[in-house]
Amino acid sequence: MLRVVVAVAVKDLRAELRGRELLPALAQFVVLALVIAEFAFDVDGSTAPRLAPGILWLVLVFAGLVAFGRAFAAEKESGSLEALLLTPAGAGAIFAGKTLAAAATLVACELVLLPAMAVFLGSPISVEVVATVLVATVGMAALGCLLAALAAQTRARELLLPVLALPIWIPFVVVGGRAVQAAMSGQSLAAMPLAGQPLLVLADLDVLFLVVASLAARVVLDD
């Protein structure tokens, strides 16, 4: 199964790197969103710690919708998704490979987002901010790709994906926002009580949604 997961992920990433359709557009979107946010909220040194986490998650959520939506829509249209599914590899492994590639795409987007936030909003980049964003990406990608696979079966996929994904991503935004806000205010996440540890809560959400997505993927893709 691992061989299939890696092969599908490599295929998606290779196609994206050669086609250069998604990553340049996402990078531009990230920068433009931050420029607009800076003007709209009039962010300065005093307001940045309060506003920056919200801006970060807003940008991340919308970038995720684009990245995950593309993961299945293009292949559904070309018929290549069906060709993959008509192999004995199993829908679960194919889904996992595509999720891995979509998560890597969002991480690439975050590599632009976090430094850009430091430049435009003066937000400090710390290990804790990076860890929070990366841990949240795993669960968001699993759930986002599952819903993207579901939405790809319909004609109104561009509308359906945000309607389905945004409410279910709220836990990531709430917990992740709290963690990033604490980290940007100079608080140590490790000093927080274990029960309220944002990184642990995010990791729990990751496990939950990875299990749900892997169980549901076969039904969504192949039935």
């Binding site: 299939v4 599908v8 196609a15 050669r18 018929g79 290549s80 060709a83 192999t87 004995p88």
Partner: protein
Amino acid sequence: MTAAAAVRAEGLVQRFGTHVALGPLDLHLECRARLAVLGANGAGKTTLLRMLATAAHPAAGRLELLGLDATRHRRALRARLGYVGHRTAVYPELTVLENLGLFATLHGLGRNEVDAALALVGLAAAGVWRAGRLSRGQQQRLALARAVVHRPELLVLDEPDASLDEAGRGLLDDLLAGRTAVLATHDAGLARELCDRTLVLRDGRQVRGRGPADGEDVPPPPVLATVGRG
């Protein structure tokens, strides 16, 4: 079901909403037989082929492929089936080798099978070319290579001659050799050339099935529109 049957369908029906797209249809095809499915646009050819390829569930009826129930044993069957649909479904950004290598990996196969399949369809020299730069006919050859890379026992081909040149059409006989095959085509000449029996569909129903034993020739396309009338 006899041991030699590769395809057996009983009362096979496919519906889209309330519209009955196919059936009820009974079909029996022995191992290594070649069936051409003929019919006008919308007759149900693709619908039938998609069910035979396990890409779609029958709405009703029973379908056995290679001795296995097509609904319950889809994954096992997919290792033994090859399918080419209307679209070539190649990845344009990947090379020919990468395209076929991916599907070989998904079948648990290696480079040797990829090379053999490319040689079979005449693309051995095009391995490093991007699939998006191939002509439509070459992309169709790549799709055919994908369908046979795992040496399937049953080939299901939807208009496999689409965009193929004369040499490409000549390859089809080699691809079908030693296999059970079901192919949909509008070309009665190709059907006569490649297949030993035909199934003519109209409005999702079987109009007529023929084989060499019937002593009948496959009718040319214009006749299909009038078969069964009057």
